[in-house]
Structures are given as C-alpha cells and as structure tokens.
C-alpha cells in the first residue's frame, strides 16, 4: 500500500474532540483508533501541540501528579472546535472527491 500523507494536526484535533488528553495519550489514541495503521512521531507531536496552543486552537493545563512527573493536559478551545469542524468538512469534501476516482 502506498504511503498516505495524513495530516497530524487533524489526528490531534480528532483525539482531543474525544476528550482532554496529554501528548502521550493523544498518540496512543491515534494508534488504537487507527488500529495501529497510524502514529504521530513524538518529535512531531510536541512541537505541533506547542504551535496549536500558541494559535489558541487548544488549551493546556498542568495536571498535578503524586506518582510521576506532572503532565500537560490538552483540550480543544471554542476556536479549536470551530476549526476542527471546518477541517472535518474539508476532509469530507476531499474523500468524496477521491471516491469519484475509485
């Protein structure tokens, strides 16, 4: 099967639309949801989360922890939710177009 160029940003937003998560859990969610077909390299994931937070698409809060290191929990902001629904719309249009060629 050919390599598929998948938008990591879309994966992150999709994972967060399912509920707040930390970086590690976002990737685990992508792996399990795609049945191990996709994953986001951590070296890509964290800079991208940083960018999305700066753009106010996602919001981050440090989760207090007694057992291990503190973790940063991400969630979608209202702007992020709107952006995600736009992205879904674009993806739907894209897949519908591709279906015409199959």
């Amino acid at each position: 099967m050919k390599k598929a160029q998948i938008n990591n940003e879309f994966f992150i937003l999709s994972a967060l639309s399912d509920g707040p998560k930390h970086g590690y859990a976002i990737n685990q969610w992508v792996i399990s949801t795609s049945k191990k077909a996709f994953s986001i390299s951590p070296g890509v994931l964290y800079p991208l989360l940083y960018h999305l937070e700066k753009e106010e698409i996602i919001h981050a809060e440090w989760e207090p922890s007694t057992t291990g290191p503190q973790r940063k929990i991400y969630s979608l902001t209202p702007k992020g939710k709107k952006y995600f629904s736009q992205t879904i719309h674009e993806w739907r249009r894209f897949t519908q177009t591709i279906h015409k060629f199959i």
Partner: protein
C-alpha cells in the same frame, strides 16, 4: 543516552524564552519517563528503555528546530499586522483621496488645467470605491483564519498600487502634447509609482514564505 542527557541536550538547542524552554522540557521529560516505564513493562532494562525512548523521540537538534519553526508565530502575526495596516492605509487613503481629487477636478474651472482630466479622476474614484466594496463583501464571507483572506488582502494592495501606475499612465497619455515641464513632472510621478511596487513585493514575498506557505510539518505515514 539517558533522559537527563537528552533533556540537557535539547535544552541547549532550544531557542525559546527561558520560561517556554522549561515548560517544553518538562513536558518532554514526562513523555520520556512514561515511555520508559512502558518499555520496561515490555521487558527492557531501565537503561535500554531510556535509550530507546530518547532515540524514538528524535534528534534533539531536529526537535529544537521544529520548535523554532513554530515559534515564528510571533513573526507571522507581526507580518499579518503590517500587511493589514498597509491594506487599510491604501483603502482608507486612496478612496477619500480620489474622491477629493475627483470633486476638485469636477467642479474646478476646466480652463485652470492644461488638459481635461475632470472625468478621469471620477472614474478612478469609482474604480477604488467599487473595489473596496467588493473586498468588503468578499471578506464578509471569509473567516479571519482563512489563508484566502490574506491572499485577497494582498491582491487588493497590489491592485491598488497597479491602479496608481495605470493612473500615471493615463496622465502621461492624456498629458501628451503638453509643455515639457509638465511632461517631466508626470514621468517623475510615474517612476515614483513604480518604486512603490518594490516594498510591496518585499512584503508579499515575506508573507508568502510565512503566512501563505503554511508550516510544512513532517507528515505521519502508514506503518
């Protein structure tokens, strides 16, 4: 490589503010600790697990560059503000300015000017006014996060400048046959308008490399 060494190496290469760097390192350290624990559960020794977690995370130099690229957000925002300011300046200054000239020319005594430009300024004003209305209507249909909006605004700006050049050309054509001094002034005016294009091209190229060309991030691929 241990997590400590990895974090130290990354910290040395990150070009963010000290506060931002601390936050980024704290988050990455938490990830590496979690990944190490996960690998240990799979039977790896602590040393091997740490090394593998760090290796899988990626080269600290590459990761640092990724953050650097992202942090250009401030630069991009600044450019957006500059571009928008320029556009607003053009629309705000050109439309009333042209209206003023159009009215002056229209109500002025035609014998006071060497060649009849009374209607020329009126048409130029109408062109700008209609274009401004068009831009306004299109902008209403776009979200402010849209890449298309910025392209549209830049096109507006460029069009306004080209409008100025056309305006000058019009003057030259209509002004042909007038005395030499006036022709010279008109040609200087035309050159001046051409020079306006240079900063515009610079702004456009800056925007192209930052705003239009969306960040090119490594894409995940099928396993």
């Amino acid at each position: 490589m241990t997590i400590e060494n990895y974090i130290q190496s990354l910290g040395e290469q990150l070009k963010l503010s000290p506060g931002e760097t601390q936050k980024v390192l704290k988050e990455i350290a938490a990830h590496l600790v979690q990944e190490t624990a996960s690998l240990q559960k799979k039977g790896l020794s602590r040393e091997k697990a740490e090394e593998r977690a760090c290796t899988e995370f990626g080269d600290p130099a590459v990761i640092a560059k990724g953050y650097q690229k992202m942090s250009s957000w401030f630069f991009r925002t600044s450019l957006r503000v500059v571009a928008l300011t320029l556009v607003v300046m053009v629309i705000v200054s050109e439309v009333p300015g042209r209206l003023f000239f159009a009215l002056i020319q229209l109500f002025d005594d035609p014998t006071n000017i060497s060649f009849d430009l009374r209607w020329f300024d009126v048409f130029i004003f109408l062109f700008y006014a209609l274009f401004a209305v068009f831009v306004f209507l299109v902008v209403q249909k776009l979200t402010f996060s849209s890449k298309r909006l910025w392209q549209l605004l830049i096109v507006t700006l460029i069009t306004a400048y080209f409008g100025e050049i056309l305006y000058s050309i019009g003057y030259i054509i209509i002004g042909m046959g007038t005395d030499a001094l006036e022709s010279k002034i008109i040609i200087h005016l035309f050159i001046g308008q051409l020079l306006k294009i240079i900063p515009m091209i610079v702004v456009y190229l800056c925007l192209y490399s930052t705003v239009f060309k969306k960040m090119t991030l490594p894409q995940s691929s099928e396993k």
